[in-house]
Amino acid sequence: MNSSLLAIEFLVVVLGLGILLADLWIPSGARRGLAYAAATGLLLVLTLHGGALAPGDDTAFGGMFLVDALANYFKTLFIVATIAVLLISSGYADRLDGYGEYVALTLFALAGMLLAASANDFILMFVALELVTVTFYVLVSFQRRRQSSLEAGVKYLIFGALAAAFMVYGIALIFGSANTTNFYEIASRQAELGKSPVFVIGLLLTLVGLGFKISAFPFQMWTPDVYQGAPVPTTAFLATGSKAAGFVLLLRLAYSVVPEVMARWSHLLLGFAMATMLYGSFAALAQRSVKRLMGYSSIANAGYLLLGIGATNVTGSTAILYFLSGYVFTTLAAFAVISRVTVQDDNDDISVFAGLGNRSPLLAAAMTLALVSLAGIPPLAGFFGKFYLFKAALLQVPTSPLFLVAVLIACVSVVLSLYYYFNIIRVMYWPAQDAVDRPVTVPMAVGISLAACLAGILVVGIFPSGVIGLAHEAVAGLGTPAPEMHVQAHHAAAH
């Protein structure tokens, strides 16, 4: 068994344990340092991931664990997002009792995401997702003294349990019908398995679990409440890392494991994609809570991404990767700003943004850039992300006119989103009432992560071809499991 493939995951877990240990000796005033240490450690892991420890395509643990270009792409994305989340949370440390644990849990959640990116088996997929979800139960309710945080935690717990129950039931059905949970083996027998109603129901229930993670209609109910109640850094992590973890698995299932079965459901997927976009955009229109608004925006964005899943072509999978890369930077930049603006009195009503243009031109400019990118205005990352997703869907129009309808609905959703994103911009620069003229402080660490995210938005947006190239390489292997690796997996299982 080639356990060196797990070096990255191993390092992250060790880093988390180290932080937990160090927490015992660090005085409570200096706990911020733990976040810096963790971020530095992750930066190191990232370099190793790109350099010395960069593994070639291989499997481990009897074919359960797979390293390929797609997994590596997402791992980079997860680590980058976690670094930014840690830096944002360092500015929030005073509000989080036991901050050392917060940092460690964030790292464990990251470990779960990394495993999810490499999952090549329904069992590992379930375990990895549960590692993420269970950690998030704690991260969401971390502000124990705030009722809304606790409420959000309980809601997330119950919904997570519900989703996990459906998923594990689904996996049991899959195992019952296929006698295996390995992705490669199921992929090679998908034509035969697709005819078994037991397998199909099992697959559907598994997808329900993933639908919960990415907040797709009709499993999106929890999103606004949890986003609003959770501490801002947790919300940022939910919106980026947790959502991307759902998408990497969805991508693998749809493009690599059971593409033939999924192709039957393309109309269904499109239907849910349209419902998801419209739900997110419509419900966001009347929002005054900025965190809740970001929750609805996150739902709408999941809808756009589902278009790419439904399109089942290379353009679609490439577009998903590109979109998520830009989305991670954009969302983190927005949450970095939100964390600074709302930190003083834990109020995220849109009125606290009033006059931000004068109080902190830097934060206002950063927020504007992020919102403009989310709204999909060229030449920022959000524009090209949507552009490629729509293009992927339009390429499928010859197979079914529903794709055209879906793109038109997506355009309607984009137009609606302009309204609520620009509303925040309007409030920042042209406040209706006299704003509180209280300056907003930006600690260095938050500033660094903000600057990095802004640079990401601009680079991904202005030079899309570079990221598109990387994404294209990452998805090139999807749908064609290498035969010798398949054999290897068999051998390993036999031993």
């Binding site: 519900l162 329900v208 009709p218 109910m221 606004p224 419900a283 031109p361 400019a365 030449p379």
Partner: protein
């Protein structure tokens, strides 16, 4: 000559650095340093100063050798058959222009540290100046039409910010708006022209376009002249040619150093520069689409040449009866821009660029000198309230006089003499004697209004309290004057004209001057008719000015020629004609559009749709009760729905 494609080498980094430095300084000032004057000054001065140093380096590395370098362009986006990229051109044309832009911009920055010293919005001023410099450099370095157009608009925006810098003054705010809107009219034509050329050649890159045109001269077909004229419309707006010239005199409401930078040396020159950059598109035989076939054999160059000549003449005439020192200079700028455009139309883009370069130096000097005068006279701009400044402001006076000599084209001792003569030669060479006549006549007009300005403002006795206490400003304002005086006098002695000729027409045989008499008296040998006629008219203008204005307490012209004077003072009623014709038409269209917008678009569509959307949004919020049982029920119902739909 085919451009040499090099990998990312230092010339590319240099060009990027020159382009981006002012932007970085502008961003830093806007975002963080709004309250720190010292740092603002250091940052913006060093950004442009380093940019100038690098431009000089780039010029001697690549400009002088005449190499054409095209940076490997960064692909930006590609949609269908349109692929846009970001690319910088480093060639003799752009490297010299880079020096002009960064050089004048640097001196204006230095000068502004004195002129704007007491302004509370000092950092905003420097941020806007930096942003403008960035946009202008973007036009100079661009290697394709799309990029040019983007920077073209950015220049428009930054000029809007600078003209309207004192936005609390209604006149300044109106002038900024007027400049922007007038430019937009020209830009609309420019965009159409770009689209026509792109549709015909399938590329927006200048190099690729030139190559295609060379391989297949008839590629533009019947649209050739139309495309040329439409592209020229962009220059008509930006370089303030008839009939879109009305914004430039009003734009003088901006701070005077801004007028020196934008409305004399750089932005207004962008139009001429662009025409020279795409000269290969303009120099095509006349061909019109069927609907415009009555235009017959009039080519795009004919339109350009006549527009330039008429602008030059009309502006020169109007300038004679202006009393505001900056407005006189503004009309003089219009007149000189007319010369340049006429030169392009007469097949002499090299002469146009030559005059652009010399004009940038001496006109910037004139504006900065005017700024010094205005500053010394406590923001008095009427020349009739000055007088006697020569004694009290010697540095300003002598540099101003040298620049005036250059503007009038004083033989040998001024750069303007050489560049203007190149234009006259081009007009004669292209067999357009009428245009040549207009050009020479304008020399007389130029000398008349400039001598009038110098006599009234600088000579004689002080006519106001402020003028009698005037003094030269501080060193940071006089130093730029002295530095600019050097090229204003001497630039013509260098082979700048020949440089541009080989830059625009690679491989052309250039007349190279050798020996003392040939270098200094070249125009008398090269095109004697223009040189002698120009000299004669200059002497005539000078004597008329002295006879009329020497010792005059007020302008005698309204008394002698009341009608003409009134017409000139009202700027030949251009604004009034527009107010009487275009504006009512525009208002009528606007009223109709307003009605449609208000009742149909707003009322029916927006109110209706947005009301519906809003209602729907609120209804959705009702679902989102926060009640966990409801959520869980909906979740399970959702699962049932999914399974049902999927198995159907």
């Amino acid at each position: 000559m085919e451009p040499t494609h090099l990998p990312a080498t230092n010339f590319q980094d240099l060009a990027w650095a020159i382009l981006l430095l002012p932007l970085v300084s502008a961003l830093a000032i806007t975002l963080g340093l709004r309250r720190n004057r010292e740092l603002t000054t250091t940052l913006s001065l060093s950004a442009v100063g380093i940019g100038f140093g690098l431009s000089v380096w780039l010029f001697f590395l690549y400009g002088v050798s005449g190499e054409r370098l095209a940076a490997t362009p960064l692909s930006w986006m590609s949609v269908g058959s349109l692929s846009a990229h970001l690319g910088l051109t480093v060639d003799p044309l752009s490297t010299l222009m880079l020096m002009v832009v960064t050089g004048v911009s640097f001196l204006v920055h230095v000068y502004s540290t004195g002129y704007m010293e007491d302004d509370p919005e000092y950092p905003r001023y420097f941020a806007s100046l930096g942003f403008f410099t960035f946009s202008m450099l973007g036009i100079v370095l661009s290697d394709n039409f799309v990029q040019t157009f983007i920077f073209w608009e950015l220049v428009g925006v930054s000029s809007y910010l600078l003209v309207g810098f004192w936005y609390e003054k209604p006149a300044a705010a109106d002038a900024a708006k007027k400049a922007f809107l007038t430019n937009r009219i020209g830009d609309f034509g420019f965009l159409l022209g770009i689209l026509i050329v792109w549709a015909a050649t399938g590329t927006v890159s200048f190099d690729a376009m030139a190559a295609k045109l060379k391989a297949e001269p008839g590629i533009l077909g019947a649209a050739a002249s139309l495309a040329g004229v439409l592209i020229f419309l962009g220059a008509v707006g930006k370089s303030a040619q008839l009939p879109l010239h009305v914004w430039l005199p009003d734009a003088m409401e901006g701070p005077t150093p801004v007028s020196a930078l934008i409305h004399a040396a750089t932005m207004v020159a962008a139009g001429v520069y662009m025409l020279c950059r795409v000269y290969f598109l303009l120099d095509l035989p006349a061909a019109w689409p069927a609907a415009l076939s009555f235009l017959g054999s009039i080519s795009a160059l004919d339109v350009i040449a006549w527009t330039g000549a008429l602008t030059s003449l009309v502006a020169g005439v109007i300038a004679i009866q202006q009393d505001d020192i900056k407005r006189i200079l503004a009309y003089s700028t219009l007149s000189q821009l007319g010369y340049m455009v006429m030169a392009v139309g007469c097949g002499g883009p090299d002469a146009a660029m030559f005059h652009l370069t010399t004009h940038a130096c001496f006109k910037a000097l004139l504006f900065l000198g005017a700024g010094a005068v205005i500053y010394a006279c406590h923001h008095e701009q009427n020349i009739w309230k000055m007088g006697g400044l020569a004694k009290r402001m010697p540095v300003t006076f002598w540099t101003f006089l040298l620049a005036t000599a250059a503007l009038c084209g004083l033989p040998v001792l001024s750069s303007g003499f050489y560049s203007k003569d190149a234009i006259f030669a081009a007009a004669l060479a292209s067999n357009r004697p009428v245009l040549f006549g207009i050009g020479v006549l304008v020399v007389g007009l130029t000398t008349l209004y400039m001598s009038r300005l110098v006599i009234i403002a600088f000579l004689g006795e002080s006519r106001s309290e402020a003028a009698s206490h005037a003094a030269d400003p501080g060193r940071n304002m006089t130093l730029p004057l002295l530095i600019l005086a050097v090229p204003s006098v001497s630039l013509g002695w260098l082979p700048v004209g020949a440089y541009f000729k080989s830059a625009i027409f690679p491989g052309a045989v250039t007349h190279s001057a050798e020996g003392f008499s040939d270098v200094f008296f070249e125009p008398f040998n090269h095109s004697p008719l223009g040189a002698f006629l120009g000299f004669g008219l200059m002497a005539f203008g000078l004597s008329v000015a002295f006879a009329t204005y020497w010792g005059a307490a007020m302008d005698p012209m309204p008394g002698h020629l009341p009608r003409l004077s009134r017409a000139l003072r009202n700027r030949l009623y251009f604004d009034e004609i527009y107010a009487a014709t275009l504006i009512p038409l525009h208002d009528a269209v606007a009223a109709l559009a307003d009605w449609v917008d208000r009742w149909i678009v707003q009322g029916l569509f927006v109110r209706g749709i947005s009301g519906g959307m809003d209602l729907f949004g609120r209804a959705l919020r009702l679902v989102q009760t926060g009640n966990l049982q409801t959520y869980a029920f909906l979740f399970v119902a959702g699962v049932a729905l999914v399974v049902l739909l999927a198995l159907k």
